[in-house]
Subunit: 127 residues, 2 copies
């Protein structure tokens, strides 16, 4: 099963659920990954600072998100051998353009919120 789409003169193939790139896309656009990437655009950040700035994320989910992004090569994890522990997270060369696109989408959506509200009001009225 293949889905071919043209974007800016390029052909995009989105395969079925078993396509590996679809999994990566889901990692990057997942609930917490979007926010992690956006924050890391600001620069290196520690675990607990990420947790504080995102707000509402559990330790478990943040750790899971970070490990997945690290494994895919978007995030770099540097653990300093000190006590108490000190771990820095930052974007890799691969992660930065990803973060930029994701954050760009977030920014664009925020700009469009008035239009979205209008559309919703219109939809809800018809129903």
């Amino acid at each position: 099963m293949r889905v071919s789409v043209e974007v800016d003169g390029h052909v995009v193939d989105v395969y079925d659920a078993k396509c590996p790139s679809r999994a990566v896309l889901e990692h990057v656009t997942s609930r917490w990954a979007v926010l992690v990437l956006a924050i890391l655009l600001d620069g290196t950040c520690r675990f607990s600072e990420l947790r504080r700035r995102i707000g509402g994320v559990s330790e478990k989910m943040l750790a899971q998100t970070l490990r997945r992004l690290e494994r895919d090569g978007f995030v770099r994890r540097v653990a300093h051998p000190v006590i108490p522990p000190h771990v820095d997270y930052s974007l890799t060369e691969l992660g930065e353009p990803a973060a930029r696109q994701v954050a760009g989408l977030a920014y664009w959506i925020e700009e469009q919120m008035p239009a979205v509200s209008v559309a919703r009001a219109s939809y809800d009225e018809r129903s």
Copy 2:
């Protein structure tokens, strides 16, 4: 709770879980919405054709995804009053740039898959 990020000279604010734009972002980047938007970039499409081209999506989830995108103003639904029913889905003026960004990200990720594989191999080896 506020997260400020600079992207291309703009300041992006990603608020906490109650921020309305965060919900819209999740709608647009959700599992099936990404694929629906990508396909609709190709042009108008009927319900069953969407279902066929995506592959692996249930009627329920496709309907739910389409309704959410329609309500947010990204997708236009046109029902022709004929028997058997004929319903066309297409992108709105708001939906097209959204679809372009999402599909662009999907395309970019697919390009980076070799790098992702290398990163994964490296990560898995260290563990």
